[in-house]
Amino acid sequence: MTMSEATAAAEGGSAVGVQVAAENPPVDGAAEDAVIGKWAEDTQEALVIAPDKLTAYLTYLRDRQGYDFLSSVTCVDYSAYGGKLRDGVDERFELVYHLYSTRKGGGPVVLHVRVPENETVASATGIYPGANLQECEVYDLYGIKFEGHPNLRRVLLWDGFNGHPMRKDWKEAYHEADTKPFRSRHPQGDYQWHEDKIPWGKNTTYPTGWDPDSWRAPITYVPVSQAPEDAYSDEFETESIVVNLGPHHPSTHGVFRMLTRIKGETILALEPEMGYLHRNHEKIGERNTWLMNMPFTDRLDYINSMSNNLGYALAVEKLAGIEVPERAQYIRVIMAELTRVVNHTWSIGFILNDLGALQTPALYAIEEREMILDLFEEVSGARLMCNYMRFGGVVRDLTEGWEDRARYLANERLPRALDELDRLLSDNEIVKARGRGVGYLSAKDLLSLSVSGPMIRAAGVPYDIRKAEPYCIYDRFDFDIPTLPEGDIYARYYIRLLEARESVKILQQALRDIPKGEVLGGKGGYTLRPPEGEAYQRIEAPKGELGFYVVSDAKPNPYRYHVRSPSYINLNALGPMCVGYKVADAVVILGAIDIVLGEVDR
């Protein structure tokens, strides 16, 4: 991407601050007969698209309407739907696309594509390369095949896994009941472990025609060179080899594997391999009641449980129409911004760790995290798994003196600590030498790969959901969206520092204005039954765009619960960013994406 394009993107984005209403895109020409109906009258607006016209319509939206960001691709299995909204529709599956415009801001265009069982759909990867991992996930969990997908594979589960677990007729080996609360966990009165009921080897089924003994890990998708032949100078005759970085590797921040093809030290191609921590969070979410999901969201991105709570609470509030009292709104913003500071200092520390500055910057960076976690513990009872938000507010009011302590933190301690980090690292020649120009990807590429959050802001796109589509009360605060034009490792490090400073600014204002009053309103208790319909709510989580897509059929349990996790989707860009750089750089490039495996694998 040339400089002029970068400035164009920046200029286009400067209008983002103005809220643009989600307008229905005017339909013309080729796209006209693609829309065959509306999903439902009284829920969130969504268009039903003819499956064969999908790619044409997506192209039209991208090129003519400016919807350049494919946020979420997911699927719903409607075979057990108990509601009335889908009367007269036979197709079992429905693919759901959420598209946004980073230039216009505002709400989404929601597309539904109805798919009968055993049919294929055209892949969106040709128009939005960012659909790659999400379509893989839909294939893995629902078994829907996408035609034209470059590398459709089981991404979270392994090849020997029988069935597609998110289908409603798939039951796990220790299945007790479809929904919680279970009638009895101990029907005969004696205690049983679930894992005792799945003795491996006796109770395991494999897909038909699949033999565990002859199976070898597939290397068919080990990517061939994506780099141009002259990307490296070879004085020696070398052959490219396939190397696994991980799954047990200190640089991968968890159990994660990078399948690389390297020649010498240079990476020719890289493919992320994940799913080692997969626990089918979404299936668990469908069996839980609405409220029970709240502590489970803590376990997604476990560094930022507060913002996970917030995203889920907002999604359900949107669906059920629950109001939040004023004080709770402020408390939510304070918690979300504190957790952003926690995340960014943590991430800065560990980018430096990956660069080889072992522990010193990391430990300095998380000093203030300690204080913030103390504050979290004081109000919610836990440092990491806060479980603090509820539908309609937060569960308990702040304790006495909490606000004063938080004010001290926001006004004195945090600014000082961030300045110190800045002094410690930003001018450091080694950080610059390792970071400048490494892992570069243009803003246009990043957006088309559905990358969000600090990653795109470090490439010059001033897109922040807090401004583009304000939720909570973010429109009341005065803060900026920092951007850097470079789009390399150093910019991704530095943007986090700048963002943490903006968060401190929001904290100062919120702690100044916070009113007294109720903290929990509405009827969002454990018997909640939201009206039929669907809702998608995204927030600017510290790692990027965190979205919750929920479907209700007016029962006590969610019919569909999907997490659009920023860590997972940002990995779309990992391969393209690493090509042409050294192995040691790949470690830092991964570190600068800032993933948490709890959220990647779900």
Partner: protein
């Protein structure tokens, strides 16, 4: 100039080093300022938000003073005044539990009629996710979060499946651990009782007034024969209950002498009480 960034960074590290080193060389480092000294060199540290320098806590010799709202594994409250469980076996906690780790068996009287008392109460601590929904939705304030986090054992089963005896703690233990919330609850309870009393008084007054107004109109609702029969029945019932209680006491005595289970339970309760007292002492010390 090349190298200035490095030097600047080194300056920051030097500052940190000096701060922590000098502080740590003092006879009383600043992080111990508000701490509570226990025997055998153990400490409970209350780390203020202004703490600078050395922040490391040398667990297990040093521990943090836990905030009141800290939640770990639930505990059941034993009302020492009334001498009964607060739990009524309504089962709401088991319903709202996200991982479904609570299992309750309701008690029944001699006729097999269920009574509002749990016979068994299990929590699988290996599955519990410390969300504290059971506490939030308990209508009787019978289940609360314990602060005891050192639960390591060698086997998951049966050690981590807590039964009623292991979960039950006296009310004083809870009061020492959650002083603010306990006070608030007592206040609410007192108010509710007062209201109830006021209502009852008003009712009695009204009834009295009514009785005065229409004494002649009132008729005895039951004939003397009926009343006599009821009295006899009641006497028989109370006699049966007494007999049973005596028998039950015998049985339990036998059981305790046989297995020593009760002794163990008592010892545990004593231990918990002692811990509660210790905690209360710590709190007092830390406050004043």
């Amino acid at each position: 100039m090349f190298g200035t960034g490095l030097l600047k960074g080194l300056g920051v590290t030097m500052k940190h080093f000096a701060e922590t080193f000098i502080d740590d060389r003092k006879p009383m480092p600043s992080r111990y300022a508000d701490s509570i000294q226990l025997e055998h060199g153990r400490r409970i540290i209350d780390q203020p938000i202004t703490q600078e320098g050395l922040l490391t806590i040398q667990y297990p010799e040093e521990k943090r003073l836990l905030p009141e709202r800290f939640r770990y594994i639930p505990m059941l409250l034993w009302d020492t005044e009334k001498g009964e469980d607060r739990c009524t076996a309504c089962g709401i906690c088991a319903k709202v539990c996200p991982p479904q780790c609570i299992w309750i068996v309701r008690d029944s009287d001699e006729n097999g009629k269920p009574v509002t008392r749990p016979a068994e109460f299990f929590i699988d601590a290996a599955v519990c996710m410390s969300c504290s929904f059971c506490v939030e939705f308990c209508p009787f304030d019978a289940i609360k979060m314990n602060h005891d986090y050192e639960l390591a054992v060698y086997d998951r089963y049966p050690q981590l499946v807590y039964d009623k005896e292991e979960l039950t703690v006296p009310l004083e233990y809870y009061a020492a651990m959650w002083p603010e919330q306990f006070a608030a609850e007592q206040e609410a309870l007192r108010k509710a009782e007062e209201e109830e009393r006021a209502k009852a008084e008003a009712k009695a007054k009204a009834a009295e007034a009514k009785a005065k107004a229409g004494k002649s109109a009132d008729k005895p609702k039951r004939t003397p024969e009926e009343i006599e029969a009821m009295k006899q029945k009641a006497a028989a019932r109370s006699a049966a209950a007494k007999e049973k209680a005596a028998g039950g006491a015998d049985a339990s005595d036998k059981a305790s002498s046989d297995t020593g289970d009760d002794a163990a339970k008592k010892a545990r309760l004593e231990e918990l009480k002692r811990k509660a007292a210790e905690r209360a002492k710590q709190r007092k010390q830390s406050e004043g």
